[in-house]
Amino acid sequence: MTDYRQKYKMTPVVGWLLQDRGGMILLLILIAAAILVPAGNLLVPEGSALHVPTWMLSLLGKYLCYALLALSVDLIWGFCGILSLGHGAFFALGGYSMGMYLMRQIGDRGVYGDPILPDFMVFLNWKELPWYWYGFDMFWFAIVMAMFVPGLLAFVFGFLAFRSRVTGVYLSIITQAMTYALLLAFFRNDMGFGGNNGLTDFKDLLGFSLQSDGTRAGLFVASCVFLGLCYIVARGITQSRLGKVLIAIRDAESRVRFTGYRVEYYKLFVFTVSAVMAGIAGALYVPQVGIINPGEFAPALSIEIVIWVAVGGRGTLYGAVLGAFIVNYAKTFFTGVMPDFWLFFLGGLFIAVTLFLPKGVIGAIPAFGSADRQSLLTSWRKRRADEGGKA
């Protein structure tokens, strides 16, 4: 027993990371990518077989942001059974925070040359900067807001929903309504976020031109770092006693209540953490793609995130990352080769995964079909059988 205690005390974080094979592989790949991909872009001369073209660097950077978004959804869906179909909203809010900073960085280099007002405000004949644009000329403020605004929205939304014990399909529907409401709001020019066109024409970030390869490589490395950090945080949460309570809530919510836990607080905590991660993903995404518009709030996009997680393997964290890469690579491929078939392919993929790979791609790899995954599946099947019996 003393041996166990010592081991536990000395290596709380390193200990569970070493046991987490999939996580170790993911972190090693991220470290390797953070070094090799920018090196291949900046150091290897063009024309060499090892050269990484800039478009590929940006594309991979974009995928990394999607992977972080998928991770945030898996944290609540895979471990606490909260199926959010509105996570795109938190991603977009993080993106808008970063977009506002980038807009203000343009300064007098815009089309209308106004030193303070972004172009779209001049175009709308606005004379003054709205109060909620104050502070976004400072990078640190934009970063804080990219996490704070999604977190606050998730906290308020979650407080109301979880306190009223809205669960299951009903919760999924109101998360859809939330992101749709934001979509409509951000479409309006009066909101002061560029309406339909959103925010674009960005020039530079912290003084570095967004067009230069060096900045793009830097953003790529930042994406790797944040994905890795968020993975460690998410794994830490799921490995703690709190994580066990979350899984217990997923499996038998009323039992958790009668055991004396305040289920709503636990859900609120993990939902807020997840929204902050989605916000970070959005903030990293916008400078790499160069635009943020209300389309990011589209309900269909939020549903797509859930498909990434389902394809990769729910309840594993690294599975969500893998799923985001697989589906988005397929999207890039299909929309290039036969754009009309992409949605059919996506729908077919979702059906195929649900039928043939209920544990996702990760679950199909024998080394990762661990006991926990196995029991997740049995409990899920059992619950479905129970629901069928009730109906």
Partner: protein
């Protein structure tokens, strides 16, 4: 017991209830609750003494589960008092608060955390901090470990420690759930049909388990199985249409013509 006799005992109960209230663990008085016009509980009154083992029987729809729901905070009564330890008003509290006061509840269907190991199931039920951040930074202490090991022995699952709960048999899940309740160190245990679907030997073991648990705390058992109630060897309360029909030793209530009528049909 004739109707007049019941009326008489009920009437003479009045002053006793008042004095008894001072030393009850659970005091339910005049509780009524209506769902969409259906009166599930009709001025239900009974009390349980500290350390008592009590069986509650009654036909389907007698209000047994609703009564459990009221005591544990899942349902609010329309009228009436529910007091814990003679003074704590349970009708104002929610499930988590009531659980932390020391009232444990076992469901009819075994409800355990299927994806967790038997050990982790007990760990989660272990009395102690229930806060979000306490849970986030919690470390397993030796005291907790010893407590879990003890409970594993009590519920006869010590060799299943690292098995996921999903892989347990039906009876073993019931025991695990009882074990989880013990980890909460409740003063009052409410147990809903603990032997439904159990084999005969499991039923016997469970009766033994509950009797030994009742040595240190009060236990209220809702049950259909008459053999099992006989095994429990305790005072029995018969519910019918939301109120108490009869109370006493099992062989005594079984002779009550009203109980016979309710159970055997009219």
């Amino acid at each position: 017991m004739s109707e007049a006799a019941v009326m008489e005992t009920h009437a003479s109960d009045e002053p006793q209830v008042k004095s008894a209230r001072a030393e009850t663990i659970l005091y339910v008085d005049g509780v009524s609750v209506t769902f969409d016009g259906f009166r599930a509980l009709n001025s239900l009154s009974f009390y349980v003494e500290p350390g008592e083992l009590r069986a509650i029987i009654g036909p389907n729809g007698a209000g047994k589960t609703t009564m459990m729901d009221i005591i544990t905070g899942k349902t609010r009564p329309d009228t009436g008092d529910v007091l814990f330890k003679s003074e704590i008003d349970l009708t104002k509290m929610d499930e988590a608060e009531i659980a932390n006061l020391g009232i444990g509840r076992k469901f009819q269907k075994p409800t355990v955390f299927e994806s967790h190991t038997v050990f982790d199931n007990l760990l989660l039920a272990c009395s102690g901090g229930r806060g979000v951040f306490q849970a986030l930074f919690h470390r397993l202490s030796d005291a907790e470990k010893i407590k879990i090991e003890k409970t594993l022995v009590t519920i006869m699952l010590e060799d299943k420690r690292d098995e996921t709960a999903a892989n347990l048999s039906h009876g073993q899940k019931q025991w695990l759930e009882i074990g989880m309740l013990l980890m909460q160190e409740p003063e009052l245990l409410l147990v809903d049909e603990p032997v439904a679907g159990m084999t005969d030997s499991e039923t016997e073991e469970t009766a033994k388990l509950l009797r030994s648990i009742a040595k240190d705390r009060s236990v209220v058992v809702v049950e259909h199985d008459m053999e099992f109630v006989r095994d429990l060897d305790c005072k029995v309360t018969v519910l019918h249409e939301g109120s108490v029909l009869a109370e006493g030793r099992l062989d005594h209530v079984q002779k009550d013509p009203r109980v016979i009528e309710v159970y055997l049909g009219r």
